[in-house]
Symmetry: C2
Subunit: 327 residues, 2 copies
């Protein structure tokens, strides 16, 4: 039994209310809004960010009802970025379903993404906690900065390891950091505990994204719900490629550069097979997973200041699960 199932008693009742809250926001709105929101809710997803808001707040003893609203808030913010990312990446599949941009077009995805972002700030205004508004607005800014940097480094496999980590941190990890910190804020704990939760979330987010980048070169497309090789085709310079590039001789470097100079439609299955062979020769996927595990360790250390509890155990086991999932 995976930890999402094992610990569902700790968060599932709340998570149902989160889905209800998100669906209710689209009621009575323009038809396209309802359709896209229903699509994203029904296509599932693990709701990892709400789960960490709920577990963090309960770990700190929060019993206010706000953790449900805040869970909806962060999921809305996350979903808004997914809609926009899929437009930027021209993605066709996500979580095993066609993407919103594929089904309804880019315009609908851009505008409904904006709608969801606005809804997330409406929820924050309702809660009226200025620390949370400050945190989430800055997080939202960091996410877009990460996305912009990723766009600027598109097809740039000479990108440094540090720049790669910076992009991963901004585009993925800062939201996990905020989710966990919000739990502490809602419970009214001190700065040391809020900082610990934030550090846990950030390291978890980095580990999660790096593992995801490894999966894109290793998983089968049926399991991951997106086509393996997406990052390669989209020209994203992720750690497996960066590691191979940095550890290759000039001839292989030129070969890799040549592949990433191609238009994306030319980086198909054949080229993907070639690049995978180069990655396997340098153990780059294994290396990538090792780096990811380093952040798992950092995340675990961050939670050490909390006494043992069911919530803490759930967070630690979910951390391992997120990073080691094979799908």
């Amino acid at each position: 039994m995976n930890p999402l199932e094992k610990y569902q008693g700790l968060y599932l009742p709340e998570l149902k209310k989160v889905d209800e809250k998100i669906l209710s926001l689209s009621k009575g709105r323009a038809g396209l809004i309802s359709q896209l929101v229903a699509h994203i809710i029904s296509s599932g997803g693990k709701r990892l960010r709400p789960v960490f808001v709920i577990l963090s707040s309960k770990l700190c003893g929060n019993e206010s009802g706000f953790h449900i609203d805040m869970s909806a808030c962060v999921e809305l913010l996350h979903t808004a970025t997914l809609f926009h990312d899929d437009v930027v990446d021209e993605s066709k599949m996500r979580r095993g379903s066609k993407t919103a941009n594929e089904l309804w077009g880019n315009s609908a995805s851009v505008l409904v993404g904006d709608f969801l972002l606005a809804q997330s700030f409406i929820i924050m205004a309702e809660i009226g906690n200025n620390e949370i508004i400050d945190l989430l607005s800055k997080t939202s800014s960091k996410i877009t900065e990460g996305e912009v940097k990723q766009l600027m480094h598109k097809s740039d496999i000479t990108i440094s390891y540090d720049d790669y980590i910076e992009i991963v941190t901004s585009k993925t990890a800062e939201l996990f950091a905020a989710c966990c910190r919000v739990g502490g804020v809602l419970a009214g704990v001190g700065e040391a505990q809020k900082k610990a939760l934030e550090d846990f979330g950030r390291s978890l987010g980095i580990a999660f994204q790096i593992a995801d980048d490894a999966l894109d070169y290793s998983a089968s497309s049926k399991k991951i719900g997106k086509k393996t090789g997406d990052d390669f085709r989209e020209g994203k310079a992720t750690l497996p490629i960066i590691h191979t590039y940095q550890n290759s001789d000039d001839a292989v470097k030129r070969q890799l550069e040549g592949m990433f100079d191609l238009p994306s439609k030319s980086r198909g299955a054949e080229k993907f097979g070639q690049v995978r062979k180069l990655l396997l020769a340098k153990d780059s996927i294994e290396h990538t997973m090792k780096i990811s595990q380093g952040y798992v360790t950092k995340a675990k250390e961050a939670l050490e200041i909390f006494a043992d509890s069911e919530y803490k155990r759930a967070m630690l086991e979910l951390l391992d699960f997120c990073v080691n999932r094979k799908y």
Copy 2:
């Protein structure tokens, strides 16, 4: 001398600080962010929304420094929607310059728009006034709802007058309403005055957008800074077309429907000439301007509760100027 020049002593010193504030937000950020922000600042624009924040707050006696930050905030929110609208509409020109999506691509426009939106909420969090966060987050939601409804009614010239007014109100007027109300909120006046300012802004915004829709069928492209006929080519069902359609016989209705069923690239200069003739025959541009003037009257009435002052005169003259501009 137009009222923007005549009254510039009332707002120009603040407006310079608003531009500085916006430029400073992009300093040290990813290069694409600085480039797009510099582009939008240098391409000018009348900064009408900041001007109305400043004048409204001064009308109510506000002397706090927050009207500058709030002016930057609403301009950022407005600019974010422009970036996204240009992607949705596939616009190539705005304010006489190439659009950001034309120069840097859709992806950059989507992401930098998101960045600007996040910055506007960061400013609100800094100011820490919950009434403002509530107002602007709801306004942001209404804007996207208006844009979505407009997208759903694309090429639908059978749209009702009420639906048209609803779209215009949401996508354009609600932000003007919020700008004017914010002035009252910053000054700490009572609900009656805040409501009056909000009503003024909303009626002004509706009048402004309707006049803009008339201009798209009448102005020369050099003056307006965008190509006349943009709305027609993009399949937007605006009041001039709606009026002609509703007042035409079946044969002309079929002719108009046929034009709007075409792909946008087929609605070129020749078709635009044909449709203009139909509009002129029904006095539809004149009718549209008359409807716009009705909202100008409503806006003026809303300000009646305020005693005469230089600020009030500036707002009333700017109202006429916004609506009757020929460019």
